[in-house]
Symmetry: D2
Amino acid sequence: MNKAEKFFWPIRVYYEDTDSGGVVYHANYLKFMERARSEWFRKLGFELDQLKQEYGILLVVTALSISFTRPAKFNNEIVVSVEATEIGKASMSFKQDIIDKNNDGDKNKQIMCSAKVKIACLDANAFKPKPIPKKVLEEIKHGRISNS
Amino acid sequence: MNKAEKFFWPIRVYYEDTDSGGVVYHANYLKFMERARSEWFRKLGFELDQLKQEYGILLVVTALSISFTRPAKFNNEIVVSVEATEIGKASMSFKQDIIDKNNDGDKNKQIMCSAKVKIACLDANAFKPKPIPKKVLEEIKHGRISNS
Amino acid sequence: MNKAEKFFWPIRVYYEDTDSGGVVYHANYLKFMERARSEWFRKLGFELDQLKQEYGILLVVTALSISFTRPAKFNNEIVVSVEATEIGKASMSFKQDIIDKNNDGDKNKQIMCSAKVKIACLDANAFKPKPIPKKVLEEIKHGRISNS
Amino acid sequence: MNKAEKFFWPIRVYYEDTDSGGVVYHANYLKFMERARSEWFRKLGFELDQLKQEYGILLVVTALSISFTRPAKFNNEIVVSVEATEIGKASMSFKQDIIDKNNDGDKNKQIMCSAKVKIACLDANAFKPKPIPKKVLEEIKHGRISNS
């Protein structure tokens, strides 16, 4: 199975993202990852609000595991990767990393956190599983993402 | 005109509320103030979700001014006050302070920030002004709030 | 090994916690869980800011896995549980659930989300692992938590 | 007095920014405005973390007033303006608007919210007013911002 290529989304860390420990608050990395997934869908040609209107679906996170390796700080430029790893009938799984853009040296030291995220396609009203629309499936499987 | 008595709501500051400056992130005081207004409505006998279901209204912030005097820090116990200062046909104004619970000394040093908040009553679908339900008006004007 | 008993912390869902999907935004459950862990430490006799001052340590999340079963909505009263499952030299693991307080019926339908959270004890300046202070270890292993 | 030209910063609305009312949560507009001010400083040649390291200063919000006219929704593309209106010895005032990028028609309908924000320059340790560094003052007064 072909899958959409790995996608990268740059994010700047602002004060709102940090906590008094001096680094990004742990829950906020999940926000960064969702921003990147939203942009990944947009790159494939889909707007999440239009998917809701057109197909009556919501894409929601049903499970995730994340490990935090190195903290991001205020003003850091980070990059969030999105890679679809499994596409089911009504669910998808992603591998996502957050990478330190300004750490050019040791590649192993660039990863700040790493997650597996499972998404379910739900009926927007009933909140029950609903098949991913065919057009979306096709685009995910064969779509080409150019990181321009 | 009688108005509901001043109401106080205690809040604990957690990591999520702070930023890397070491203090509560400025926008988060607005969250604290809204929590206190929600509890004020509850004390008067109204649940905001039920107001939406029963009367088809939303209460939204249309304007606010706030001054920040002394910062709150992680783990601080603060108290948010709610005082209705004006009740119109489709709007209300509140005076709200955030008070340092652990500063028992100089009263003037207790106020951390102080705001005036204007709320509009909107039709939940049309997002246009809609009169505040009579029952709510009555309770705000004559209701008694006991800060137990 | 004896461990501190299971602890429960009640939380009310406010507007700030929800998103336009109509339910609590997924990353915000992590905030709820951290609030509960902070209160668990307090119940054991420790304030996180004092631990930093006295021992120079920070307790940070290094990994977590979470599954979301049923969404929480605006105004819901939920309860967050905290249970220490492993205590290492410089790390601890917790099992945490978020429970629907108002669902008294089927116990299985009460759990909204469920997580395993790993915490590391770090030197507050060097951000490197540092042994958990003995006094804290003792309290976690033998402490009694009364959910009054 | 010459002041730095008006500056514009584009922002995309994500799920994290919205609430169950279906629109951007009111406190989150303050985050958008701070992002834009951070980018305005960067455009003038200053990084806020470097200002702290080099000059020992923090720039903090001491007062703001904001009116909300039209709500922003999920997926909206908005633009935040930054205009310095007053530069004092240890404080600055800004006028900031949030503009609907996709509303090309009636100019009056483009403004979603409008704020006046007062910033103080504080000693990063003492949290007391400290003069704005000359180099920063010069850049603000005479700097040219090109909105490329």
